[in-house]
C-alpha cells in the first residue's frame, strides 16, 4: 500500500516537474515573441522614418544632376530669366533641408568631396577648384563635391 503511494507521489512529482518545465518554456517563448513584436514595432517606426527621408533624398539626388546642367546653362547663356528660375528651384530644395557643401579653398576632406584631378600647387591637399558642387540634406552629405586638389611637386 505504502509502496504504491510512493509510486504515485513520484509520478505526480515528475508530472509537476514536466509541467514546470513546460510552463517555463512557454513563458520564455511568450516573452520572446512579445519582445520580437516590440522590436518589430520599433524598427517599423524607424524604417518608416528612414523611408520617408530616403524617398525624398533619392529624388533630390536625381534633381541635383539637372541643377548642375541648369547652372552650366546659366553660366553660359547669361540669361537673367534662367537665373531667377534656378534660384527659385534651389530655394524650394533649401526649404526641404538641402544645403551646399562649402569646400572651396579648404583642406580636402574625403567625407565631403571626391578628388577628380590633382594639380601642382603651393600647398598640399588644398581644394583649388570645385568641379561639381556637393550637397547636404538635413546635415548629411547626399552628394560629395567633385574637386581639383593641389599637391606640392
Amino acid at each position: 500500500m505504502k509502496k504504491s503511494d510512493d509510486k504515485r507521489e513520484d509520478k505526480i512529482e515528475t508530472e509537476v516537474e514536466e509541467l514546470k518545465t513546460e510552463v517555463e518554456d512557454l513563458k520564455n517563448k511568450y516573452l520572446r515573441s512579445l519582445a520580437d513584436y516590440q522590436n518589430l514595432e520599433r524598427q517599423t517606426q524607424n524604417w518608416r522614418e528612414e523611408f520617408v527621408k530616403y524617398a525624398g533624398q533619392n529624388l533630390i539626388v536625381q534633381l541635383l544632376d539637372v541643377i548642375d546642367d541648369l547652372e552650366k546653362a546659366r553660366d553660359h547663356l547669361n540669361d537673367p530669366g534662367l537665373k531667377i528660375i534656378l534660384d527659385k528651384f534651389l530655394s524650394v530644395l533649401k526649404n526641404s533641408g538641402l544645403e551646399e557643401v562649402a569646400v572651396a579653398g579648404s583642406e580636402f576632406d574625403p567625407n565631403l568631396a571626391e578628388v577628380i584631378e590633382v594639380v601642382p600647387g603651393e600647398e598640399d591637399h588644398k581644394v583649388v577648384e570645385v568641379l561639381r558642387k556637393g550637397y547636404k540634406l538635413n546635415g548629411r552629405v547626399i552628394r560629395p563635391a567633385r574637386v581639383k586638389v593641389s599637391k606640392k611637386s
Binding site: R32, K72, H76, F108, P110, V115, I116
Partner: protein, 640 residues
C-alpha cells in the same frame, strides 16, 4: 541572444546580412548603401565610399582589391601579375607573404581586410542596437588553406569570432534554399565587379561539396564599363573631334553616364545619355547627347560575355559532368542583371537560372542563413500558423463579406458592426464562410446560427457586432452580439484551418479562375443593393413628406420606384443603374418641392448609417432566399 552576421568580403564590394525573425535581411551601411566598397586608407582608417573618393589624390595610400593578395606568397604568379597594375606598393613580408606598404609602414592583407570588417561590424551594431561578436565569412571556392586562414585572422583582428568560413557559391545556394529543395548538382555563375567565377557543387549528406571551379580573375563589370565608355568617347570624338578621356572631369561624367546607361538597359531597350556642357570645343560648349540601344550594348560587350563560357565548359569537364547533369543554376554578381548574360547562361545550360535574390546581396544572405543555422535561430517559436483561406459572413444579396483575410497570422481576432436589412427584423442569421470567392454560394459554409430577440426597429438601425476569433490551434469562434440588448450567440468551428494543402490550392485556383465572372456577379449584387436602398429611402421620403409633395411629383416617384423594383429583379446591371439614377434624380424633386430646393435631399443617405458607428461595408444585409427585398421582416435575414 547575440546575432551572428553573415559577411561577403568581396574583391570590389562587401556586403553584410543577418537573420531576423527567421528571414535574412541585408544591413545598410552608415552611408545608406547595401554594399561597402572594399577600399581602405590604413593610415587615416577611412573605409568604403569615403576612402574611394580620395583614390585619385592618394593612389599609393588607398588600398583596394586587397582580396587578391590574401594569404598569398609574394612570389606567386598572380601576385606578380597584380602588382604591376596595382598603384600601391606590394612587397614580400614575413615568410615571404605578400604585404602592402603605405607611408613607410607595412600592413598585411589581413590587417587591411580587418578594417573593412570593423566598419561592417560597426554598421551592423548600429543597425541591430547590440554588440556583434560572431560572424560567418565567405571566400571563393578556390581559396586554399592559407587564404582561408588569412580571412579568418582578418575577422579575429576586427574583433569577430569567425564561426565558419564558407564558400561563396555554397552561400549563394543556401540563399535560395537549394539544399532543402534537394537540388543535387548546381552551377554558380558569379560575374562580379572585377572577377568571374564558375563553381560546380554537389550535395552530399546535406552539405555542398565543390566539384570544380574555374573562372577569370580579371574579368568583370569594370571591363564592361570600360568598353561602354570607350564606345561613347569614340562616338563623341568622331562627331566633335574632342577626346573626352583627356579631360578628367568630362571623363568622370562620361563614366557615370556609361554606368547609368548600362543599368537602364537591363530593364529598358533604349537609354538616353544627356550630358550638356560636357566640354569646351573651339566654337563654344559641346553637349553629349546620344542614344544607346540594348542591341548596341550587347554588341559592344558581347565578346566579354562569350569569354565566360569557356571557363564554364572547363568546370563542367573537370567535374566530369555535362549540362544535363546540372539541376539548378544560381546567378551571383551585379553583372548577371544584364539580360544578355542571363540569355547566354540560359542557352548554354538549357534552363533558366535562379536570380530572384539581389545578385549583389545573395552571398551575404547565404552567409546569414548559415549563421542562423549555427546560432540555432529558433524557427519553431517564430513560425506562426496562418489561415489558409479568407473567413467571412454572408450579407445582403448572398455576398461574402470577409472579416479575416487569407494568410493572416493566427491567433487573431476581428470585429465588425453590421445591421438589419428590413424594418422590424428581429433576428439575423450568421452564415460563416470560408473561401476567396465574392459570392457566398461559391464558398464553403463552415456553420450557421441565428441571433434573435433584436427589438423591432427600422432597417439599418440595430447594431450587431460580429466577432471572429481564431486561437493558436486554429479554432474559430464566431460571436454575434446585439449592442442594444446585449444578447449574443456564438458558434465554435474547429476545422477552419484544417484543410489539406490540395483543398486550399483548389479553392485558391478556383477563385483565380472565376475572378472575372465573380466580380461581375458581385457588381450586379451591389447594383441591386443600391437600388434596394434607394427604393427604401424613396418610400420613406414619400411617407414622411405626406401631403407636402405635389401629386404629380408623388406619382412620378412612385412610377420610378415601380420601374426600378421591376428592373432590379432582373440581371441587367446597366439598366438597374440607369433606373436607380432616374429615381435618385426624381427623388431630389421631393426635396425641392418641400424646401424650395434650398436644402438637400431628405431622408438621409440610402442605407442610413445608424448612430455614427463605423460601418465598413455597412449596407443592410439579407440572407439567401430572401428575394423580396426589405418590404417586410423576413426570417433569416443576415446582418451586414
Amino acid at each position: 541572444m547575440a546575432k551572428i552576421i553573415g559577411i561577403d568580403l568581396g574583391t570590389t564590394n562587401s556586403c553584410v546580412a543577418v537573420m531576423e525573425g527567421g528571414s535574412p535581411k541585408v544591413i545598410h551601411s552608415a552611408e545608406g548603401r547595401n554594399v561597402i566598397p572594399s577600399v581602405v586608407d590604413p593610415i587615416t582608417h577611412v573605409v568604403g565610399d569615403v576612402a574611394k573618393r580620395q583614390m585619385v589624390l592618394k593612389p599609393q595610400e588607398t588600398i583596394f582589391s586587397i582580396k587578391r593578395l590574401m594569404g598569398r606568397k609574394f612570389s606567386e604568379p598572380s601576385v606578380q601579375y597584380d602588382l604591376k597594375w596595382l598603384p600601391y606598393t606590394v612587397k614580400a613580408g614575413r615568410d615571404n607573404m605578400a604585404v602592402v606598404e603605405v607611408a613607410g609602414k607595412t600592413f598585411t592583407p589581413q590587417e587591411i581586410s580587418a578594417m573593412i570588417l570593423q566598419k561592417i561590424k560597426a554598421d551592423a551594431e548600429s543597425y541591430l542596437g547590440s554588440k556583434v561578436t560572431q560572424a560567418v565569412i565567405t571566400v571563393p571556392a578556390y581559396f586554399d588553406d592559407s587564404q582561408r586562414q588569412a580571412t579568418k585572422q582578418a575577422g579575429e583582428i576586427a574583433g569577430l569570432e569567425v564561426l565558419r568560413i564558407i564558400n561563396e557559391p555554397t552561400a549563394a545556394a543556401l540563399a535560395y534554399g537549394l539544399d532543402k529543395k534537394n537540388a543535387h548538382t548546381i552551377a554558380v555563375y558569379d560575374l562580379g565587379g572585377g572577377t568571374f567565377d564558375i563553381s560546380i557543387l554537389e550535395l552530399g549528406e546535406g552539405v555542398y561539396q565543390v566539384k570544380s571551379t574555374n573562372g577569370d580573375t580579371h574579368l568583370g563589370g569594370d571591363d564592361f564599363d570600360k568598353k561602354i565608355l570607350d564606345y561613347l568617347a569614340d562616338e563623341f570624338k568622331k562627331e566633335h573631334g574632342v577626346d573626352l578621356r583627356k579631360d578628367p572631369q568630362a571623363l568622370q561624367r562620361l563614366r557615370e553616364a556609361a554606368e547609368k546607361a548600362k543599368i537602364e538597359l537591363s530593364s529598358a531597350t533604349e537609354a538616353e545619355i544627356n550630358q550638356p556642357f560636357i566640354t569646351q570645343g573651339k566654337e563654344g560648349p559641346l553637349h553629349l547627347t546620344m542614344k544607346l540601344t540594348r542591341a548596341k550594348l550587347e554588341q559592344i560587350v558581347g565578346d566579354l560575355i562569350e569569354k565566360t563560357i569557356d571557363p564554364v565548359k572547363k568546370a563542367l569537364s573537370d567535374a566530369k559532368l555535362t549540362v544535363k547533369d546540372i539541376d539548378e543554376i544560381v546567378m551571383v554578381g551585379g553583372m548577371t542583371r544584364m539580360p544578355k548574360v542571363v540569355e547566354t547562361v540560359t542557352n548554354f545550360f538549357g534552363k533558366e537560372p535562379n536570380r530572384s535574390v539581389n545578385p549583389d546581396e545573395v552571398v551575404a544572405v547565404g552567409a546569414a542563413v548559415q549563421g542562423g543555422v549555427l546560432g540555432g535561430e529558433v524557427r519553431d517559436v517564430l513560425l506562426l500558423d496562418v489561415t489558409p483561406l479568407t473567413l467571412g459572413i454572408e450579407t445582403l444579396g448572398s455576398v461574402s463579406t470577409p472579416l479575416i483575410s487569407r494568410n493572416a497570422t493566427i491567433p487573431t481576432s476581428k470585429s465588425q458592426v453590421f445591421s438589419t436589412a428590413a424594418d422590424n427584423q428581429t433576428q439575423v442569421e450568421i452564415n460563416v464562410l470560408q473561401g476567396e470567392r465574392p459570392m457566398a454560394a461559391d464558398n464553403k459554409s463552415l456553420g450557421r446560427f441565428i441571433l434573435d430577440g433584436i427589438p423591432p426597429a427600422p432597417r439599418g438601425m440595430p447594431q450587431v457586432e460580429v466577432t471572429f476569433d481564431i486561437d493558436a490551434n486554429g479554432i474559430l469562434n464566431v460571436k454575434a452580439k446585439d449592442k442594444a440588448t446585449g444578447r449574443e450567440q456564438s458558434i465554435k468551428i474547429t476545422g477552419s484551418t484544417g484543410l489539406s494543402k490540395d483543398e486550399v490550392e483548389k479553392m485558391t485556383r478556383e477563385a483565380e479562375a472565376h475572378a472575372a465572372e465573380d466580380s461581375a456577379k458581385k457588381e450586379l449584387v451591389d447594383a441591386k443593393n443600391v437600388a434596394d436602398s434607394l427604393i427604401f429611402t424613396a418610400e420613406k421620403s414619400l411617407k414622411d413628406a405626406g401631403d407636402k409633395v405635389p401629386a404629380d411629383v408623388k406619382k412620378s416617384v412612385e412610377d420610378k420606384i415601380a420601374a426600378l423594383r421591376e428592373t432590379a429583379k432582373g440581371d441587367d446591371k446597366a439598366n438597374i443603374e440607369a433606373k436607380t439614377k432616374e429615381l435618385s434624380d426624381e427623388l431630389s424633386k421631393i426635396g425641392q418641392a418641400m424646401y424650395g430646393g434650398s436644402q438637400g435631399q431628405p431622408g438621409g443617405a440610402p442605407g442610413g448609417a445608424p448612430g455614427g458607428e463605423g460601418q465598413p461595408g455597412g449596407q443592410p444585409g439579407q440572407a439567401p432566399g430572401g428575394e423580396d427585398h426589405g418590404e417586410e421582416p423576413v426570417e433569416g435575414e443576415v446582418v451586414s
